[in-house]
């Protein structure tokens, strides 16, 4: 029924993602900053809680994950806000191309810029917090599966609030509750690993969350964008 | 009646504090919600009436402006 398509879905995906990455590279900081934020937050905790090794070992998984969560949250605001205020979001909504693919491309770019660096630097942070060595693989696996979920779910919240002046803090109210399951299962898995217990059950649940988010989120985001630019 | 006297009832076996606070807060919250919901209707209708008047005023002003323009 639709007219012949000059761009395949894959091309469209790459093009949108490429653009977002280019914008981030131009704002050089965008690439480094989520990382630096993470490092700073991780540094604040030993300062706030005190430097005892045992205590830090206990709370390390929780702190790393909470910091990852907040870092995702902080960087999420950018996801659609700039596009909204300069009018290019409007242009995307008016494109004959399927919106959910563009949305997925933008979310992927966001993950590449925020989720991936967190995974890469996590071992270092774990070292700083004296995390139990046994738990390292679990930390990496949960981050690898969990951070995409953060980007995907967060995008829904951003899309809902993009037309509003309030942004930031309303966003946290909307999506932090949805982040909690990821947080719980991820830290539970790491703690199980630290005690040398099996944690594949937790990993399975996080994977399920990822699949669910991956299939639902692009559509929820598309619908939300149409509402909030109205 | 489970309690022997009214003062027994009030005392709740020494746990009056907890029981009465719980019931008190619950019913206060629910009552407040009810009152707010009921009052909302009136304030809403007032708002609507005000806006209707405002709109009439605007219409009137536009009409006046047009007649003025056609005169000059």
């Amino acid at each position: 029924m639709s007219a012949p398509q000059s761009l395949s879905y894959r091309q469209l995906f790459w093009q949108v993602m490429h653009r977002d990455l280019k914008v981030a590279v131009h704002n050089k900081g965008d690439i480094l900053n989520p990382l630096i934020f993470l490092v700073i937050v991780i540094t604040l905790f030993p300062l706030g809680v005190g430097p005892e090794t045992n205590l830090l070992t206990r709370i390390a998984p929780g702190i790393i994950w909470v910091a990852a969560l907040l870092s995702a949250l902080l960087s999420l605001e950018r996801l659609f806000k700039n596009d909204y205020s300069d009018g290019s979001l409007e242009q995307m909504l008016l494109s004959p191309q399927p919106l959910f693919i563009m949305v997925l491309a933008k979310i992927s770019a966001h993950w590449l810029l925020t989720g991936l660096p967190i995974i890469l630097i996590a071992p270092l942070l774990a070292l700083m917090l004296h995390m139990e060595p046994l738990a390292y693989p679990a930390l990496m696996i949960t981050l690898a599966l969990g951070t995409p979920v953060l980007s995907l779910i967060g995008a829904i919240g951003v899309a809902l609030t993009v037309g509003l002046k309030k942004g930031g803090v309303l966003l946290s109210l909307l999506i932090l509750p949805l982040y909690i399951p990821v947080l719980i299962f991820a830290t539970a898995a790491i703690e199980a690993a630290a005690l040398n217990m099996p944690y594949s059950g937790h990993i399975a649940i996080i994977s399920a969350l990822l699949v669910l988010a991956l299939t639902l989120s692009p559509f929820a985001v598309s619908a939300a964008l149409r509402v909030s630019t109205n | 009646m489970h309690f022997d006297s009214f003062s027994d009832f009030i005392a709740m076996g020494g746990h009056a504090f907890y029981v009465w606070w719980a019931y008190g807060i619950t019913f206060t919250l629910l009552f407040t919600l009810t009152v707010v919901s009921v009052r909302r209707k009136k304030s809403l209708l007032k708002e609507i009436a005000k806006r209707a008047q405002h709109e009439d005023k605007l219409k009137q002003m536009r009409k006046d402006k047009k007649t003025n323009e056609s005169k000059t």
Partner: protein, 248 residues
């Protein structure tokens, strides 16, 4: 379903229907609330392990159970509005959110008060309590979104998306007890909710649950009427109602 609903899909008709239903709900819920409260507070027998403070159960359990039902009802309304483009379902969903939030807050507070004498602490980070706190956040998020948009129709569509996404959390709230090593809560619950619970205690509890349900119905009707008015401010029949109030 559609055919049956349709006659009431006109805002004015459903407004009137709500008005006729409201007194029945209001009166019966008030009567049952009074009966339930007196029964629970004064006539139900004492509990073996816990002292008189167990009587908090008669408000804690109805608000806790029903607050989740309200969320599901809200999600259903959203779904109806999306599938059948029924704007009135949006009004119903918007009406329910604050009610659910209030009930959740009530359950949290009464639970906390109850916890003080029975667990010796009013808050523990156990599965049921924490996940229930999430439910409150979800409600607050939906309400915040409703308030954030000026246009009611848009607000409903936005809050609707969040409501549906949040449904994923409901089973997590329900089953987190099993997924997560919990502390005090489960023991206490099974003690009371096991068949061993005497019918003398069960009946007032059921009465209270029914009373709360009716009260929720009444509140929903009141708020639903307000929402219908706000969403149809342009219609002549609303204007007439408004003019009457404006004159006074």
């Amino acid at each position: 379903m559609w055919k049956w609903l349709h006659p009431y899909a006109k805002p004015e008709r459903s407004y009137q229907l709500a008005s006729t239903l409201l007194p029945w709900f209001a009166i019966s819920s008030i009567v049952l609330l009074v009966i339930g409260a007196v029964w629970g507070l004064a006539f139900a027998p004492a509990e073996l392990y816990q002292k008189e403070y167990y009587r908090i159960i008669y408000i804690h359990v109805p608000s806790a159970t029903l607050s989740m039902s309200v969320y599901m009802a809200m999600a259903t309304a959203v779904l109806i509005s999306m599938v059948w483009q029924l704007k009135l379902a949006d009004a119903a969903a918007a009406a329910m959110a604050p009610i659910g939030a209030t009930l959740t807050a009530t359950a949290l507070i009464t639970g906390a008060i109850w916890g003080a004498p029975s667990w010796g602490t009013s808050w523990v980070w156990d599965a049921r309590l924490t996940s229930y706190l999430i439910l409150l956040f979800l409600y607050l998020g939906v309400i915040a979104l409703h308030n954030a948009f000026e246009d009611k129709a848009l607000a409903s569509r936005a809050a609707g998306i969040l409501t549906l996404v949040g449904v994923v959390n409901i089973p997590i709230i329900k089953y987190s007890v099993e997924w997560w090593n919990t502390l005090h809560q489960t023991a206490t619950i099974s003690k009371l909710s096991a068949p061993s619970m005497s019918s003398e205690m069960l009946w007032p509890l059921l009465t209270n649950i029914l009373a709360f349900a009716l009260m929720i119905g009444a509140l929903t009707l009141i708020r639903f009427k307000n929402e219908v008015l706000a969403r149809n401010a342009m219609r002549p029949w609303v204007r007439e109602l408004a003019a009457k109030v404006g004159d006074k």
